[in-house]
Symmetry: C2
DNA sequence: ACCTTACGTGTACGCCGTACACCTGTCAAC
DNA sequence: GTTGACAGGTGTACGGCGTACACGTAAGGT
């Protein structure tokens, strides 16, 4: 056995799939900002430029990541009305996004939908159309649902970087006077959580709440027409 | 008049305000990706490191930009019920965002709200509380509104980079078979626009449609409780 | 035996944010 | 008037990034 053979069997050949899976793994731990072509190459024990045989560039890599995540969303069930089918699928999408917290950011950064994403959207539209929505109403509903169709509301400042309690307490003290309404809300909700104040929301509940407001709203519009 | 004097009067001194306004101008034309500390310094005819006397780092600069944009949002009118006050203010926010198309992206990238943003949110919450919303319901509504409270729905793939018509036509042809529902929608809506297919939505209408679905929904919840 | 083709490598370029030491003009205190 | 602190712009440099481009090198078809 020559030295060449050792090297040859030591590394499985690069594939687009292997690249994508390594990228997902890298982003899952460490966040999307820690995903660089160079670090990805390093994780695959390969020189950075080698990646470019399998993805066109970083942007296309990111689109590939979106495809991976969207591919994890369950297909819609066919034995239910449009509303529950859509609701459940969106909640499935949300589960996928919770597994890959970077995904929503990356999806928003995309400028063009991939075939995988188009397929997802097409089947979602199908749920509405076969559920009795007119063409026009379907169109408006698509806009109204927006990114929620992919399982995420765009919450502002929902990051989980927890600060030290001392600074937080001081901040909330100052808030009492300056931002009375914010203070009022954040001091009364969810002190059952581990932190005394703030960020103790039941995200799943809030997501479903917002989703249902939307679904109920569009259902009413459907029935009216 | 010495040479020094000429130089001294040739450049107005740098200010945080001047830096921010130059950054806004740079981003307005050329997009947020063309805003780098180096280019910003160049636009101000100054060396890059000079900026750091007025902003802590690029992140803090971006937060400053958000403050500028949020500062452009009109205060809520006080002579109307909560619903129209909120509706009009959100539409004012949307106008500010349309003036600075990069702003929604930057806002989403923020990890911590600035005092200016907190002030905006506080007054929005105030509209709900004084409008008769319970603490709990107000809280849920905040989540449900999400980024829409700042005037933007997170539309996916709403960029305006128009491709050449030939490629577009080919794409739509292929879509007819693969994505029938998408095809159906995009070929029937808004051919009054300049482009034959796609991207011809009335964004203002769609935004208000979604906003009203939301507002009507929460109004119903309010009246029920 | 040769030539193509596929695919990993090495080097290099231009961009980025920013740390750090340095200069210089202004102004208060003596 | 001299001095010394300080505020604010400068210059240099470092490490990171994406990726263009030329170069091996091994496998497979002829």
């Amino acid at each position: 056995m020559t030295e060449v053979d050792v090297i040859a069997e030591a590394r499985t050949p690069l594939t687009r799939d292997r690249v994508l899976r390594a990228a997902v793994a890298l982003a899952d731990r460490g966040g999307i900002e820690s995903l660089s072509m160079r670090k990805l190459a390093q994780a695959l024990d390969v020189v950075p430029m080698a990646l470019y045989r399998h993805v066109a560039n970083k942007d296309e890599l990111l689109s590939g990541l979106v495809d991976v995540v969207v591919g994890e969303i369950d297909p819609p069930r066919t034995d239910a009305d449009w509303k529950t089918a859509m609701r459940e699928r969106i909640l499935s999408a949300r589960r996928a996004l919770l597994r890959h917290t970077w995904a929503s950011t990356v999806m928003e950064s995309r400028t063009t939908p991939t075939p995988v994403v188009l397929g997802y959207m097409d089947s979602m539209i199908g749920l509405l159309r076969t559920g009795g929505f007119s063409l026009d109403l379907t169109h408006h509903v698509l806009h109204a649902m927006g990114s929620r169709m992919f399982g995420f509301t765009q919450e502002l400042f929902n990051d989980t970087t927890d600060v030290d309690p001392e600074a937080a307490a001081e901040m909330w003290g100052a808030m009492a006077g300056t931002y009375p309404y914010i203070y009022e809300i954040f001091t009364t909700i969810s002190h059952d959580d581990r932190s005394v104040v703030g960020a103790g929301c039941d995200d799943q509940f809030e997501f479903e709440f917002a989703l249902d407001v939307m679904l109920d709203g569009i259902e009413r519009l459907r029935n009216r027409s």
